[in-house]
């Protein structure tokens, strides 16, 4: 049986790949050439805000093609952990490597280039309120120097796929919470990134939509994308475990633990 989501996802990836920036392409090829290495690596990392230490001695390697869930109570530091993974925060101690580069050694431009290869679904979505939804989805392409994308087939397909075609010209403040989350996911995918970090991507959508988004992420993973999803939603994790070999990590007691069979 032909899986329609798989077909669409593959096409999305192919067209997005064709659009990608030369340098990003070169980077990707070199990354592929070093298979077996980690895309993102945390080595005995600790992080604290002024309020106190969130976690310490955290080590993790995101191998290419791996699928991780990150869970833990609210306020345990899931978002903080993801921010460390895409260079928005520098760890208080320990080393974070993104594509084999130590975040502390990376210039601001290096960070920007790395972010083009890491698709992030932010918990609070983060759109530009003065641009239409379509323009917001195309923003990663725009800022990396691609031409105007108004009629881009790839963009259109992504929008069909997250069910937002009818809202293409809406401004972000007019969108519902679920629409914003779907849009955030579409924006994270537009550059066809190697790694996808999603912070509560299904927090505001109904069960059916959350299953659809999950299926998409699983399909992307089958095509070789590395995925990490932070979520409270244990139902989502259980649903995923039937389809994909996912590791479930939990932040608990300031440590990162592998969650057991209770899931």
């Amino acid at each position: 049986m032909v899986n329609p989501i798989r077909t669409i996802a593959r096409r999305v990836i192919e067209t997005a790949r064709a659009l990608r920036h030369n340098r990003a392409q070169v980077c990707r090829q070199t990354a592929a050439g070093r298979k077996g290495q980690s895309l993102i690596e945390l080595d005995t990392v600790a992080h604290s805000y002024s309020g106190g230490e969130l976690f310490n001695e955290v080590s993790l390697r995101l191998a290419p093609g791996s699928f991780h869930f990150l869970t833990g109570p609210s306020g345990s530091g899931k978002t903080t952990f993801l921010k460390l993974c895409y260079g928005a925060l520098v760890p208080t101690s320990g080393v974070v490597r993104i594509f084999d580069e130590d975040v502390r050694q990376m210039s601001r431009d290096d960070i920007a280039m790395a972010r083009r290869r890491v698709g992030v679904v932010h918990q609070d979505c983060q759109f530009l309120d003065h641009l239409s939804l379509r323009e917001n989805l195309a923003l990663p392409l725009t800022v990396s120097g691609h031409e105007a994308l108004d009629d881009d087939a790839n963009l259109r397909e992504l929008m069909v796929w997250v069910g937002l075609t009818a809202r293409a010209d809406a401004m972000p403040p007019e969108l519902s919470g679920g629409e914003r989350q779907r849009a955030a996911l579409a924006r994270a995918l537009i550059m066809s990134p190697d790694v996808i970090l999603a912070d509560e991507p299904t927090g505001n959508v109904d069960w059916e939509m959350s299953q659809r988004l999950l299926t998409l992420l699983i399909e992307l993973n089958r095509m070789g994308k590395t995925i990490m999803i932070a979520t409270h939603d244990l139902g989502l994790i259980r649903a995923a475990k039937n389809h994909v070999q996912a590791r479930v990590l939990r932040i608990s007691g300031r440590r990162l633990q592998l969650a057991g069979a209770d899931l």
Binding site: G87, R108, L128
Partner: protein, 300 residues
């Protein structure tokens, strides 16, 4: 050539980048207005400097190289003393040429005061000798000493006593004009820095989102720099045109009016006005770049 290319690219800009940063509203309008006002002031400071410069050069040049020896003597000694003075002058280093004025020339000099019908022959007028210096000039005190020894009735007037303060006043005026221009440029830079900082602060959220999706600092800074540079260019162009028109309506230079009527621009100096908008644009470019760099550095 490639520099020109990049200037053109910068001016045309990236429509998408321009769109990503929302309109910055009043800060932009303030920039246009202040650039216009500043350019208007620069036009006058420039005209003042150039006019003062012209004056200083003219007084310096015309007068620096001429001096007068005046001989007052009894009529029967006049010819002999004149002869002696000319002799002294011809052997003085730094004197290019010395010449006794004829009676007609002396009459012409006095005509403005006494009319041209003056019977000069009947008056015990002093004899004037016009001295032209070489470029190096002569030693006034030395010459005065020699003259007092050999020509008792001779008085040397090398114009320095009244020329020097005038030339130095014109020089100060010129300096003041240039200082004003520099101060106006700095004030423009400060003003645009404030406006750019306000615009950047108002757009902190937008900048953060752009960074999150992989925008480089230069890309974000460019959008702001382009906006402020073009507004400063436009404002300064308007201000310069208005200042230039105002200069045109000043009375033109004339002998009688002296300094005040010579304030306009002359000839090729009009072309200098073209530099004012370019300078304003350059100041805006640098000020915005600095402001953007500082703001961006504080974001992840």
């Amino acid at each position: 050539m490639s520099a020109l290319r990049s200037v053109i690219d910068f001016a045309i800009g990236d429509a998408q980048a321009e769109k990503a940063v929302p309109p910055t509203g009043f800060t932009v309008r303030l920039t246009v207005f202040s650039a216009a006002a500043m350019a208007f002031l620069v036009v006058f400071a420039l005209a003042l400097s150039l006019a003062a410069g012209r004056l200083a050069d003219r007084w310096g040049d015309e007068l620096a190289r001429s001096a007068t020896v005046r001989i007052s003597a009894p009529v029967e000694q006049m010819a002999a003393q004149t002869e002696a003075a000319l002799n002294v002058l011809s052997t003085t280093e730094g004197v290019e040429n010395a010449r006794a004025l004829s009676i007609d020339e002396q009459r012409d000099l006095l005509a403005p005061w006494f009319g041209s019908e003056l019977p000069l022959d009947a008056l015990p007028l002093p004899q004037m000798i016009e001295v032209i210096e070489t470029a190096q000039g002569f030693d006034g005190d030395g010459l005065r000493l020699r003259l007092s020894g050999e020509v008792p009735g001779a008085v040397l007037d090398n114009h320095a006593s009244w020329r020097v303060p005038l030339v130095s006043a014109a020089g100060s005026l010129r300096m003041l004009g240039w200082i004003s221009i520099i101060l106006i440029a700095l004030a423009t830079g400060a003003m645009i820095t404030l406006a750019a900082n306000a615009a950047l602060a108002a757009n902190a959220q937008v900048i953060a989102v752009m960074r999150l999706v992989g925008a480089r600092d230069s890309y974000i800074a460019q959008a702001f720099m382009r906006r402020f540079t073009l507004r400063a260019l436009t404002g300064a162009a308007v201000g310069t045109v208005l200042g230039g028109v105002a200069l045109l309506f000043l009375p033109s230079a004339s002998e009688e009016g002296g300094f005040l009527t010579g304030l306009g621009l002359q000839g090729g100096h009009w072309l200098l006005l073209l530099l004012i908008p370019i300078l304003a644009a350059a100041v805006a470019f640098l000020a915005t770049r600095l402001a953007a760099r500082n703001t961006l550095r504080s974001l992840t």
